[in-house]
């Protein structure tokens, strides 16, 4: 153990001297403004990495690792068990591989607590409010900061050593106090697109679809319905968070330039949800997909975890979801996916999240310092690279290799992000109200089930919304 610490110290000193020498010409820490911009930035970092020698890449990784380690004493992790809570959709097998590597290096065991998606937010809130907390937990941020009340229940991580290595720190800052409350997994996420089975669509006579109007999107669905036995548009409403994707992105895209003003009016209680024509229009179009027979009949009882097998079996042609699903799918199945954004209101913009997934440290935990040290270790390139080797994407840190991104996800970056054709989905913009959105998503499910029409959904949601905001203590709702 002593030898290990001595080796670490020596490498810290060596690398620190190298870093000082290189600092003048280095620009790796350059910051970008938005989450979507970060994807482009990561691309550049990857392109640069590709041109370099492999040993140079290794040395970079080692440099990052040591820089991440700073002068922290990781011996506090020896023999400890870190309780790591996450949800089914957020958990990846690579986490266990990372945990095994950390255990081998630092003698610290990670105990994963994987919670079903539909229970996750309520379970997180319950645990935080009762003090029965894990050491770290994963949640979207900063969009969920208000919902889980990070201000009272989580540690401020703004001054942790890994902050200096972030590609996109501005995106991560809390909208109220500017603090960073979690260690991010990626620099950008939440590309809400239609991911389709390329071969299946080609068999229906559709090659590389890129709809520019909503009618063109409907034409694709119609062609699939007429030319195959597959369900054109797969929905997994047993997990209501997947139901909301169409509306969460669609309403934001449809609002266009009016989005910010509309959100402000909602937060100031100046308008009701029923008074937003775009909201009703988008929801109605969603309901129309069911009425036209484009959606699978068992949509109400299958969930996110069922989608991959259904798509792989060719039972469905398209699935509206986020890029993590597509990455995971292509890792597990030898089926090529394509992607495009639904052109809501004939605007071919990609809805994207202005959030990432991150690891929070609850302040009610019994091992806060150990949890912080664990995060520091978790952020090191050696371990982050393990994740990105099997799940290529857009890393949060400038010294991590994101790998070759799945083509269907890269296409989204090239076609929408790089060209500025993207809109931020509403959840992040209305972070203050996020805590009651689960009820809204349940109402969307009722619309999908045919028990409520679009107007009724918004009428039902309005009292829930005003009540929630009143409970939260917002003056405009008192």
């Amino acid at each position: 153990m002593r030898n290990k610490v001595a080796k670490k110290l020596l490498s810290v000193i060596l690398v620190a001297s190298m870093a000082v020498g290189l600092a003048a010409c280095g620009n790796a820490g350059e910051e970008t403004q938005g989450g979507a911009d970060a994807a482009e930035n990561t691309e550049n970092v990857e392109a640069e990495n590709d041109t370099e020698e492999s040993d140079s890449a290794e040395s970079e990784a080692s440099e990052g690792e040591t820089a991440a380690a700073g002068e922290a004493d990781f011996s506090i992790l020896e023999g400890k068990t870190i309780a790591f809570m996450t949800s089914q959709a957020k958990y990846f097998e690579a986490y266990q591989t990372m945990a095994d590597a950390i255990e081998a290096d630092y003698g610290c065991t990670v105990e994963f607590q994987v919670i079903p998606d539909d229970e996750y937010t309520s379970m997180t809130n319950l645990k935080l409010s009762t003090g029965e907390v894990p050491d770290v937990f994963e949640q979207n941020f900063p969009s969920q900061n208000v919902t889980i009340n990070v201000y009272d229940y989580c540690e401020d991580l703004s001054n942790e050593p890994w902050i200096s290595r972030l590609i996109n720190p501005d995106l991560l800052k809390d909208m109220k106090d500017g603090k960073i409350y979690a260690l991010p997994k990626e620099s950008s996420s939440g590309y809400q697109a239609v991911y389709y089975n390329k071969q299946l669509l080609e068999d229906c006579g559709i090659t590389d679809p890129n709809p520019k109007t909503y009618q063109e999107f409907l034409d694709i669905l119609k062609a699939v319905k007429e030319n195959s036995d597959a369900t054109p548009f797969l929905q997994t409403n047993a997990d209501n968070w997947t139901t909301q994707i169409y509306m969460t992105g669609g309403i934001a895209v449809a609002l266009g330039d009016n989005a910010a003003a509309t959100y402000e009016k909602l937060l100031n209680n100046e308008i009701t949800w029923s008074e937003i024509p775009e909201a009703e229009e988008i929801l109605q179009k969603y309901i129309d997909l069911y009425e036209a027979g484009y959606v699978n009949e068992d949509n109400l009882s299958i969930g996110y975890d069922d989608a991959a097998a259904i798509m792989a079996d060719g039972k469905a042609a398209m699935y509206l979801t986020i890029e993590q699903w597509a990455i995971d799918f292509e890792n597990n199945y030898d089926i090529e996916l394509g992607s495009f954004a639904i052109p809501h209101n004939d605007i071919p913009n990609l809805p994207t999240g202005n959030y990432v997934q991150g690891l929070f440290v609850p302040n009610g935990g019994s091992q806060i310092e150990e949890a912080k040290a664990f995060l520091q270790v978790w952020s090191m390139p050696k371990y982050q690279n393990i994740y990105y080797e099997s799940n290529p994407g857009f890393p949060a840190f400038n010294d991590v290799d994101g790998g070759a991104v799945t083509p269907c996800v890269q296409d989204l970056v090239d076609n929408y992000i790089s060209t500025g054709q993207y809109s931020y989905e509403i959840n992040g913009q209305l972070a203050d109200a996020n805590g009651c959105f689960n009820d809204l998503w349940n109402l969307y499910v009722e619309a999908a089930a045919g028990t409520k029409n679009a107007g009724e959904v918004w009428e039902s949601f309005q009292p829930i919304y005003t009540d929630y905001m009143e409970q939260q203590g917002y003056e405009a709702f008192q």
Partner: protein
């Protein structure tokens, strides 16, 4: 000589103190908190709001729906369990071959975990490849196949069915205990008097089985009103809000941070269960017959 041994009362203090701390105080606190705007954001500064929480609840369409679902669940499951448990007990109290085996089989669901049962029945009720739909298809009844848990019209009945399936065996065991306590002399005397099987059942079995009915009906009614796990595991209150019951609604409000409101709902549920349990118990006990 029977010598009674007395212990000083203060020997009970540790148990009483624990009981007060973990039982009485939370109940009393919950009662008071249901009249406040207690919220996660105002943990230390709850304000008295009178009956506002209760008034708001009765204007909340989802609370009303949860209340209706809870009543439907409690009534249907109690009736189902009482009848099915009795039929099983009567069947297995007669000279059936392998009755010990069947008693074990029917009792088995009562000891299974609700989580396991929930997951198992999700596979049964699944639309695509589900056991029930497969059976219907094999029987040529394809038109009856359905997305059982996904259809708001059938989801609640599926959960009710699972509850009846789980607890009928337990009710059977209680009835069997009651049936075995009835002396064979009554039946012999009735046979000599020329009573039919139905008359014996109506005039001997039913009245003498009333204590067992009291236990089964009271326990299942209370259990029915408190239902949580089955709903949580099988549908989590969905699709949408269609299978939401009071306990899952209380849980969802609690996790949103509305502690005062969830306390108000818990108080209502407590009052409802207590009232019904007292009425049922009193009414059923009056019908019990001394042997």
């Amino acid at each position: 000589m029977n010598k009674k041994k007395f212990y000083p009362n203060y020997f009970t203090f540790p148990a009483v103190i624990l009981f007060i701390i973990f039982y009485c105080i939370p109940i009393i606190a919950g009662f008071f908190m249901s009249f406040t705007d207690w919220h996660i954001k105002r943990l230390l500064t709850p304000k008295f709001v009178g009956f506002k929480n209760f008034i708001r609840l009765f204007g909340d369409e989802h609370f009303i729906l949860a209340l209706k679902n809870t009543v439907l669940f409690a009534l249907s499951t109690t009736i189902g369990i009482v009848i099915l448990g009795l039929l099983l007990a009567l069947l297995l109290n007669s000279a059936v071959k392998g009755k010990a085996f069947f008693r074990t089989v029917f009792y088995l669901p009562a000891v299974l975990s609700l989580i396991v049962i929930g997951i198992m029945f999700k596979a049964v009720f699944k639309m695509d490849g589900g056991i029930l739909n497969n059976i219907l298809t094999v029987l040529g009844l394809q038109s009856l196949t359905n997305d059982w848990l996904g259809n708001p019209k059938t989801a609640m009945f599926c959960i009710i069915f699972v509850q009846i399936w789980k607890w009928s065996g337990f009710a059977m065991a209680i009835y069997l205990a009651g049936l075995q306590g009835i002396s064979a002399d009554y039946y012999e005397a009735a046979t000599i008097d020329g009573a039919t099987a139905l008359q014996k059942f109506r005039n001997i079995t039913l009245p003498l089985l009333m204590p067992a009915f009291t236990v089964v009906i009271t326990m299942n009614t209370i259990g029915g009103f408190k239902v949580f796990e089955q709903v949580y595991v099988m549908t989590n209150g969905g699709p949408g809000f269609s299978t939401q019951v009071l306990s899952t609604y209380i849980y969802s409000e609690f996790s949103k941070g509305s502690l005062g409101r969830s306390s108000a709902m818990s108080l209502l549920l407590f009052l409802m269960i207590s009232t019904i349990a007292v009425i049922l118990n009193t009414a059923l006990r009056k019908r019990e017959v001394e042997m």
